[in-house]
């Protein structure tokens, strides 16, 4: 199970990167980048999991004596999700401008920067 869980995280990272490498459309590139990033979410949340423990939110059903999963990785993942959304927004804004300036979104046909 351990290896399986972490391999899924690694798979997301690698398959997202593969998507960027073989992408024919920059919108697709940006989306694949966000898939690669979700590998880090899965890794972090999996690292913080404890079998039989509940969510780290105390209340009437969960007294503070109860075992909870790691809240620190969850806070890290929240930050990571914000980063993902904002970076995606910035890159999509750039993609819109590229489409306007170059008339194409195929990275194979963008040739303004060479050498």
């Amino acid at each position: 199970m351990t290896l399986y869980v972490y391999l899924v995280a690694g798979w997301l990272l690698l398959v997202g990167s593969l998507g960027i490498v073989r992408s024919r459309d920059l919108v697709h590139t940006v989306v694949c980048l966000s898939v690669a990033q979700s590998g880090t979410y899965v890794l972090l949340i999996a690292v913080g999991y404890q079998r039989g423990a509940t969510a780290p939110v105390f209340g009437s059903t969960t007294p503070p004596s109860e075992n909870v999963v790691d809240p620190v990785v969850q806070a890290m993942t929240l930050t990571d999700i914000v980063v993902s959304a904002t970076v995606t927004a910035l890159l999509l804004a750039l993609v819109i401008q590229i489409a306007k300036r170059h008339g194409t979104l195929d990275p194979d046909h963008l040739s303004s920067l060479k050498g």
């Binding site: 990785v73 970076v87 750039l94 040739s111 303004s112 920067l113």
Partner: protein, 615 residues
């Protein structure tokens, strides 16, 4: 008992990045209602204020480190839940350079084009906050977050000239490659956290103490470093650099080239010295940086000399110099670190001044193509002298600070690597300096043959179509553009001549390489002082080598300008180089898919290299 410094000093570190954040918020909230001069004034004053805070912090950290626990979570028995800010002289020094460069960039952009409702100024201040926080924080995940702040703002700044096709293209490549690097860094952080349950640099070091150098640590080290090294533009992570630095607005280029790439180097060696130095054998790591540093330096120098686009030329020269930084810091000892830090500081002054000069050229003549600009600057007054001088200084001309750093670093790498590393230093300095001198002579003196129409079908980015950054071309260069150039050059000169600089840098370097002291001080244990070693400074051999590389730079420049008058044997000897050069240039394709493939090649090779050395 926690050895606490002056309590007021502990509040300086958070203020150094909170002040620019708050002012940026104000600019964004009020920007459209403020007149332009108020926006300029507010932003410039803030950069100056941050520089002032950095100076105070530097004075407080002079005899050690200033530790601030955000939220007041001071460790009890060495453990805590909070984040530490750890200001040591080298880190604060880097923050100070960033603030000074930001000040120069903002003054330079007073005459700058449309700032889009103060967005440009607000983004610049947020960029400064990101850089400052990155060097001050003592927590690995917090480093990642500040790194992302630097990144996100930098992508927007790179693409700021939305009418320019190269600008938005370069920004996207930068964004994708840099983000992917950051995600690999985060994976490394996740792996370290799973193993140790810690995120603070000092706490990680304690948790890993006594660990054998196992595979997990190699992977974690390589992954964490990937993001930092992408930022540092180490080959083969460097492809985004020329694309982004050549197309960003000039004031932004200055910051990218002058300090941002150096912060990647800072992050790399900060993490190594504090967390990994006790668990990964030093010879393997040293060898890694000697090899990658040398390759980066050579690739950067070759690509630099081959450019005609002035800003791309400078960007590739930065890559070459990053290679030299890596060589110097890669010695992992105090002497090499001292040389590297001096070199970074001197380089910041010279390279920033050069980027500003390229901005002046762009806004005066409407192009940054060296060939196209042949002889166009004959009637200029000051720059025809300053630009070749800066070229010589880039090659290491004494008594500029960059030359002193080069001299100190050469001595250190000779011990760690051997004579070949010194040769790399001399040749690479000469080639990058030579390229700048060549461009200066061609533009300002009309040296060499006048250009013919370039043959059709040559695909390279020449810089003829670069968009000017002021409305209408400048008739004369305004004082607000000249003063920052002169100030930066004088600053670089002062580093080399003011007495005591070498001693101060040596003390800072000794702190930086003393990971155990960092850990002890952060977690509140008494820190043993590192064994004192002698600072180096200028030496006779150093001056000789620096004069040699300056002379070679001049020779390279003249040879390139008058290559048709070179003896036939020399030209024949150079002929086999051409296809190699074409091949290397073809790799820099501007294709983001290529760049990502190379990113993974870099990670795999780093991993294999280190595993072979460590396990």
């Amino acid at each position: 008992m926690v050895p606490s410094a002056d309590p007021a000093a502990t509040h300086l570190a958070p203020l150094a990045f909170t002040v620019p954040i708050i002012v940026a918020c104000l600019l964004l909230a009020l920007g459209r209602r403020l007149p332009r001069w108020a926006v300029d004034g507010l932003a410039t004053t803030t950069a100056a204020a941050v520089a002032g805070i950095d100076v105070l912090l530097l004075m407080a950290a002079r005899d050690g480190r200033v530790v601030t626990w955000a939220g007041g979570w001071t460790p009890v028995d060495g453990t805590t839940v909070g984040i530490a800010l750890v200001a040591d002289p080298l880190g604060v020094g880097a923050a100070l350079i960033a603030a000074i460069l930001m000040l120069c960039a903002l003054v330079f952009s007073w005459r700058y084009f449309d700032s889009a409702e103060a967005h440009l100024h607000a983004l610049m201040l947020l960029f400064l906050a990101g850089m400052t926080g990155f060097v001050l924080t003592g927590d690995l995940f917090n480093m990642f977050v500040f790194f992302e702040l630097m990144g996100a703002v930098a992508y927007a700044l790179t693409g700021f000239k939305i009418e320019d096709p190269t600008s938005v293209h370069g920004a996207l490549s930068f964004g994708v490659v840099n983000s992917l690097g950051a995600y690999l860094t985060l994976c490394g952080i996740g792996i370290l956290y799973a193993r140790t349950g810690e995120l603070g640099l000092a706490q990680l070091a304690v948790a890993l103490r006594g660990n054998p150098p196992e595979a997990l640590l190699v992977t974690a080290f390589v992954l964490v470093l990937t993001g930092w090294l992408v930022k540092a533009a180490m080959v083969p992570f460097h492809f985004w650099t020329a694309d982004a630095e050549a197309v960003a607005p000039t004031p932004v280029c200055l910051l990218f080239s002058g300090i941002m790439v150096a912060l990647g180097v800072y992050g790399t060696f900060r993490v190594y010295h504090v967390v990994f130095a006790p668990v990964l054998p030093a010879p393997g790591v040293q060898c890694l940086f000697l090899v990658f540093g040398a390759v980066t330096a050579v690739v950067g120098a070759v690509m630099c000399f081959a450019q005609r686009h002035l800003k791309r030329l400078l960007a590739y020269s930065t890559i070459a110099h990053v290679g030299l930084f890596l060589l110097a810091f890669g010695t992992l000892d105090a002497a090499g670190t001292e040389g590297g830090a001096l070199y970074v500081a001197g380089h910041a002054g010279i390279k920033s001044a050069l980027f500003l000069m390229s901005g002046v050229i762009l806004n005066r003549y409407g192009s940054v193509d060296e060939i196209d600009l042949h002889g166009r600057g004959r009637h200029a007054v000051l720059l025809p002298w300053l630009m070749p001088l800066a070229g010589l200084a880039l090659a290491g001309l004494p008594p500029f600070g960059l030359g002193m750093g080069k001299a100190v670093a050469e001595e250190a790498v000779a011990t760690a690597g051997g004579w070949w590393a010194v040769a790399v230093f001399v040749l690479v300095s000469a080639a990058t300096g030579g390229a700048v001198i060549r461009a200066a002579l061609r533009i300002y003196r009309g040296t060499g043959r006048a250009p013919e129409a370039s043959p059709p079908g040559t695909e390279e980015t020449s810089g003829t179509d670069e968009e000017a950054e002021v409305s209408g071309l400048l008739q004369r260069v305004p004082l607000t553009m000249l003063v920052p150039i002169v100030v930066l050059l004088l600053g670089a000169l002062a580093l080399g001549v003011v007495p005591g600089v070498s001693e101060a840098f040596h003390a800072a370097a000794s702190r930086f390489t003393d990971g155990a002291g960092y850990v002890a001080r952060t977690l509140g244990a008494p820190a043993p002082l590192p064994a004192p070693t002698a600072p180096s400074g200028w030496t006779l051999s150093g001056v000789a080598l620096s004069l040699l590389s300056s002379a070679m730079a001049l020779a390279f420049a003249l040879a390139a300008l008058h290559h048709d008058r070179l003896p036939a044997t020399l030209r024949a000897a150079a002929r086999p180089v051409a296809p190699v050069l074409r091949g290397v240039r073809a790799l820099h394709s501007g294709h983001v898919g290529d760049y990502v493939a190379w990113l993974f090649v870099g990670v795999a090779v780093l991993g294999a290299f280190l595993a072979a050395g460590a396990l």
